[in-house]
């Protein structure tokens, strides 16, 4: 009897999860379409569709095809990448504060990218590779520094915060010395922005997503199991070592390429995971819902930043203003429940 009940409950939860994931996907498509249509001039869905099919529409071909399409695609991919990478770290370290933008991995990617853009004036692909190197190096350094006499998530987070402080001041230094960049561009880059997106900036990120996203989704179930701890995961048939390496490398790749293309869009990696977990409930693989939440967040925040106020804000400011109170709320809730601190 009870077995049947469990089975029924599980099926109900799975249906619910599938339903919510579907709704999220629809939401992402809707916001993506909206950011193609809305702008100085409004284009109808038929016009946008015609442009996407490659037909020539007067006016819309340039505005939608050359300006809005790369921008929206960059937002979509960066959101997917940040959401997926963030939730991977959060799940693996079993702490929502362990998102890559708080423990300094994003800062590592940013520092390398800023150095590549300003000091070495590299092209997009080279900058992405450099950002990847910086992120991997930072992740390794944080891991090694926090691994001493046993490994704890809290220590890793604090050490990450220290490393992030150092890297951030290095970024600030390089940006403040950049003669060619005016301060506003520099600050936009620091908060993350989709301005000036071209197919050239989108291409490396799209490639990285093509490789890393499927590889990680395959491991999604294992990630859910890793949450139970290494021993339980091994007992349940997960090969802990390889799984973890695939997931971490995949997450770092996504993070580095997204950062190189759009800057470290504030708090998306941090927010997407917990929001997705709230929506779909515990137990399932958090990767796909978190990626969708991330994409919806970035696209919606970009729309808000561009059109909701008198001045145009870069997307990172909007996500930052949304993320900051959420971070505080999460901290209060975690502390009150005596949770993972």
């Amino acid at each position: 009897m009870s077995v049947v009940q469990i089975a029924v409950g599980r099926r109900r939860r799975q249906r619910r999860r599938a339903l919510i994931t579907g709704i999220l996907a629809l939401l992402v498509v809707a916001v993506y379409a909206a950011s193609l249509m809305i702008g100085q001039t409004f284009y109808s869905p038929t016009e946008v569709w015609a442009v996407m099919l490659g037909q020539t529409v007067p006016g819309a071909s340039f505005t939608v095809g050359e300006l809005r399409l790369p921008r929206a695609t960059l937002g979509l991919l960066a959101g997917l990448a940040f959401g997926m990478a963030g939730t991977t770290f959060q799940t693996m370290l079993r702490n929502p504060l362990a998102s890559p933008d708080i423990i300094g991995i994003t800062s590592g990617a940013s520092a390398a990218a800023v150095f590549g853009i300003i000091v070495l004036s590299l092209n997009e692909t080279a900058v992405s590779m450099l950002a990847l190197g910086g992120a991997l190096l930072t992740a390794t350094a944080i891991y090694l520094l926090s691994h001493r006499g046993g490994f704890t998530g809290t220590r890793l987070i604090l050490i990450g915060i220290g490393v992030a402080a150092m890297l951030d001041s290095a970024i600030t230094y390089v940006l403040s010395r950049a003669a060619a960049w005016d301060l506003q561009t520099a600050m936009q880059w620091l908060t993350g922005s989709l301005n000036g997106a071209t197919w050239g900036t989108v291409a490396p990120l799209a490639l990285a997503c093509l490789v890393a996203v499927p590889a990680m989704l395959v491991q999604g179930r294992a990630l859910g199991v890793l949450r139970l701890g290494d021993d339980s995961a091994t007992a349940l048939g997960v090969r802990v070592g390889p799984t973890r390496i695939v997931l971490i490398v995949g997450a770092v790749v996504l993070l580095a390429f997204a950062t190189a293309a759009a800057g470290p869009i504030a708090f998306v990696a941090f927010m997407a995971g917990p929001i997705a977990a709230r929506l779909v409930g515990p137990g399932a693989s958090p990767l796909l819902p978190a990626a969708l939440v991330g994409a919806a967040l970035v696209l919606a925040a970009d729309l808000i930043g561009q059109f909701a106020f008198d001045t145009r804000y870069p997307v990172g400011v909007v996500t930052g203003v949304l993320g900051a109170p959420y971070l505080v709320y999460l901290l209060i809730r975690t502390n009150r429940s005596g949770g993972s601190l």
């Binding site: 926090s146 604090l158 220290g162 402080a165 230094y173 600050m187 936009q188 971070l327 949770g339 993972s340």
Partner: protein, 348 residues
């Protein structure tokens, strides 16, 4: 109010009470170092100056460019000393009050609170008088401190070092993000605001020093007046209460002093991190943990550290300057990591 250490000597009495001679020697030595650093701060910079020109400039002459450069460097050096001393004393007091080795105005988000309050004050309320800015900064610092402490002490175990540091770092990140949101659309004023993101002493003038010095002096006196209480707090609340210490009042008064120091320093120099973390730890190794000695000593050492950071920032990159906030982050973050590594961390 009885002197705690004499009533109940803790096990490591040797580190608490270094011989007075040793302490005096360290104090004198640090003061000499500070004096040398001040000379260096006036002598080194983007422009090379000769000894004669320094002496002439100190005599009030501003004829040559070099002499003018020296005259410009003097207020900067004074401000670096004041800010360094204030941040170090603030950090020491916060560490004593929270009994937390990771306490620091930067890490606990107090500087970020002050920064945010000032930026909002300037951007939305058009404040620019030094005293109103300082008032706003101190209010912001106090708000952030109360908030971080409240959040960090929720739940089991009260305000453990790690919880407090985590709460501070998170709130700091949140505030920094809000500062960018306020600043970004204001291109015209952003150049003058940049300072609210990095922190530096380059914009020092005698007017600003004159405005901030009395406030810093009040904060410093409040902290110095409660050093005995801080020593009692180190024994734990129960024991301190048993020794006749009014724990709540001591905490309140000391934190108020620390917040005034940090807020005023942030109002004139922007957010400068890690000084309040590094200096007390270093000084405790040298003169022990008796706050009656430690606090004045950290003031001298903090002044020396910030002047040194300022000089390094001017010398290390030829032709330009690196803000002190960047240098202190590079010195301080490794120390922070080192302290975290030494902590025994509880994992669920």
């Amino acid at each position: 109010m009885s002197a705690a250490p004499t009533v109940a000597p803790p096990p490591d009495a040797a580190t608490l009470r270094r011989p007075a001679g040793v302490r005096l020697a360290w104090m004198g030595g640090t003061a000499v170092v500070l004096a040398l650093l001040c000379v260096a701060s006036v002598a080194f910079g983007v422009r090379e100056v000769t000894l004669d020109e320094i002496i002439a400039a100190l005599g009030g002459s501003t004829n040559g460019i070099s002499e003018a450069a020296v005259v410009a460097r003097i207020p900067r050096t004074v401000l670096a000393m004041l800010v360094g001393a204030a941040l170090a004393m603030s950090g020491t007091t916060m560490q004593a009050v929270t009994r937390n080795p990771l306490a620091d105005p930067g890490i606990l988000g107090v500087s970020a609170g002050a920064s945010l309050a000032v930026v909002i004050g300037i951007a939305f309320f058009g404040l620019n008088a030094p005293y109103s800015l300082m008032g706003v900064a101190i209010a912001g610092a106090a708000g952030a401190a109360v908030f971080v402490y409240a959040v960090g002490s929720l739940g089991r175990g009260g305000a453990t070092p790690l919880k407090l540091a985590l709460a501070g770092a998170a709130i700091s990140a949140a505030f920094t993000s809000l500062v960018s949101a306020v600043l970004l659309p204001r291109v015209d004023v952003m150049e003058s605001f940049r300072f609210w993101q990095i922190g530096g002493v380059g914009g020092a003038t005698w007017d600003r020093i004159g405005a901030v010095a009395p406030v810093l002096a009040i904060g410093a006196l409040v902290c110095l007046a409660t050093t005995r209480g801080m020593n009692s707090l180190a024994l734990g609340d129960d024991l301190a209460t048993g020794l006749g210490e009014n724990v709540g009042r001591t905490r309140l008064v000391s934190s108020a002093g620390a917040i005034v120091l940090c807020g005023a320093a942030t109002a004139v120099a922007g957010p400068i991190g890690f000084v309040g973390l590094v200096v007390p730890h270093l000084c405790r190794l040298l003169v022990g943990t008796d706050h009656r000695w430690l606090l004045p000593f950290t003031a001298v050492a903090g002044a020396a550290l910030l002047v040194a950071a300022d000089v390094v920032g001017r010398v290390i990159a030829p032709g330009s300057e690196i803000e002190v906030g960047i240098i202190t982050a590079f010195i301080g973050a490794p120390v922070f990591i080192w302290i975290v590594r030494r902590q025994r961390v509880r994992e669920l």
